[in-house]
């Protein structure tokens, strides 16, 4: 077959060994190489230089760890300013829009006095279980509020726990600075400038202290001890937010939260005919979820009762779903 597109010197035929079988010389030669390698591995030094092809290459994982490159991306986290506690997120929905598996759910904060939107997120839910770690959210975020974490030890037996909200998403800026110093210093100035502008437009406590308030104090900041160094002590504090408090009824919580988000989104869209059906389905579940913690809790179940009688069924269901989710978040 003529190959006119290839000059003859561009092609070469691989050399086959078509010799008859011998008495194991080929194998002996291979074993010689193996033995050489084996000796080097036994008596040689452990090495990590890329040019080496002999010696020990193992990293004894839980005790020893490789340093993570700065660009490493695992799961998204949200940043807040150490000094003021203000979150950098302004709920611009850029990440929600770009997210390929659509796992980011944001609710924009509203000024309670005027009802106008405020550049802050009231709710930020991310489904870690479906997240594909592509890093687009961090890439598109104009406020550098969402970044990719280096913590990869996220395995859990409790699947619904992977539906994370502010409790686990928030990290102080100082934490991100330790895991990715140059990447942060590149954007630090403009990010902080943008944050100052946004703080001016946030009345009261909106956009602030989400994580701490829920847990009544400092746990987020405390737990976020950076562990990005090359070799933290075994079993040392991992940079993850407090999650332990969430109880056994987590799966119900997840249902409630998701329903609340869907209901809220439906409400945002104006709740057309198409939205009525899922909400109607959602209502009984939400009620059931709402009933359980309410009965167990000593706190009065005022909010449920306060829902007006003259509201439409749809709207009431939505409200109840939202409130159930809020109670779940408070850990009741």
């Amino acid at each position: 077959m003529t190959l006119s597109h290839l000059a003859t010197e561009d092609v070469f035929v691989v050399e086959r060994n078509d010799a008859d079988f011998r008495a194991g010389q080929g194998m002996t030669k291979g074993l010689g190489i193996v033995f050489r390698k084996f000796r080097k591995a036994l008596f040689g030094k452990p090495n990590s230089d890329r040019a080496d092809t002999e010696g020990q290459f193992n990293v004894q994982y839980p005790e020893e760890r490789l340093a993570m490159p700065e660009a490493y991306r695992n799961m998204p986290i949200l940043l807040y300013d150490d000094a003021t506690g203000h979150e950098l997120c302004t709920s611009c929905f850029q990440c929600e829009r770009i997210c390929p598996p659509q796992v980011i759910h944001i609710t924009q904060a509203k000024d309670p006095a005027t009802g106008k939107p405020v550049p802050a997120a009231a709710k930020f839910v991310l489904e870690y279980d479906t997240c594909m770690s592509c890093g687009y959210c961090a890439e598109v975020c104009p406020f550098d509020a969402i970044k990719m974490d280096h913590d990869f030890e996220l395995s859990t037996a409790n699947h619904p726990e992977l539906d994370v909200d502010y409790n686990r998403l928030l990290r102080p800026v100082s934490y991100y600075e330790t895991i990715a110093p140059t990447m942060w210093s590149d954007v630090k100035e403009q990010a902080m400038k943008k944050l100052q502008n946004n703080i001016k437009r946030r009345p009261g406590d909106i956009g602030r202290d989400h994580g701490q308030k829920i847990k009544g104090g400092a746990p987020v900041a405390a737990a976020a001890t950076p562990a990005a160094g090359a070799a933290p002590a075994a079993g040392a504090a991992k940079p993850r937010g407090p999650v332990a408090a969430i109880g056994k009824n987590m799966s119900e919580d997840k249902t409630a939260k998701l329903l609340a988000i869907r209901a809220a989104n439906a409400a945002k869209r104006g709740g057309g005919a198409a939205d009525a059906a899922p909400v109607a389905q959602a209502a009984p579940v939400a009620e059931a979820v709402a009933a359980a913690p309410a009965a167990a809790s000593a706190a009065p179940t005022g909010p449920v009762a306060a829902i007006g009688q003259n509201m439409s069924e749809d709207k009431r269901a939505k409200l109840e779903a939202i409130r159930a989710a809020k109670r779940a978040e408070r850990g009741e």
Partner: protein
């Protein structure tokens, strides 16, 4: 054996094999990209559109006359607005390299029309690709030795890559066409 430029095959076929070209598309022989607004389906015609029953003849013609012996890719595209399914056959000339040669077949979407003779007897490499086109688009290839579903399970009804296949819900059995 020579490489063909894009669109050249059409004029060659007009003189050498006048009966194989699909006359329905003679009038739209130019690139009509501008004519299609946003959100519209497109049909581009710089390549030869041949009759379904002539595809085997044309495939042999381009192989024997021009050396396009590597049938690389078979793609089915569902143009719902035009009511047709297009099959794009991409041939390569393994000896002379260069870009691909595209031959198209356009057939209706109904089960009676959605039939193209199989290339598998001559190009066994078309086997899995034709099964994929059958599974996803419902194109039937008479002459194929084992035309069964390839990705979906055997009991599956409907053709999931067709544009009118519902993307939500589990009522996939409502789809017509099988």
């Amino acid at each position: 054996m020579a490489l063909l430029a894009r669109g050249e095959l059409r004029s060659i076929l007009q003189t050498e094999l006048p009966n194989v070209l699909d006359s329905r598309w003679d009038t739209q022989a130019t690139d009509q990209a501008e004519a299609h607004g946003e959100g519209q389906t497109v049909l581009l015609d710089f390549d030869a559109v041949v009759k379904a029953e002539a595809i085997v003849e044309v495939a042999h013609f381009v192989r024997d006359k021009f050396g396009y012996d590597l049938l690389s890719n078979i793609t089915a595209v569902d143009y719902l607005n035009h009511g047709i399914i297009e099959l794009v056959y991409q041939f390569y000339n393994a000896a002379e390299a260069g870009p691909d040669l595209r031959v198209r077949v356009r057939i209706g979407r109904s089960p009676e029309e959605c039939i193209v003779p199989s290339l598998t007897p001559t190009w066994p490499g078309a086997d899995l690709q034709e099964r994929e086109a059958y599974d996803m688009y419902g194109v039937v290839f008479p002459g194929h030795p084992n035309l069964a579903r390839i990705y979906m399970w055997d009991e599956f009804k409907g053709f999931p890559m067709r544009k009118d296949f519902p993307k939500t819900g589990d009522k996939y059995t409502h789809v017509t066409g099988e």
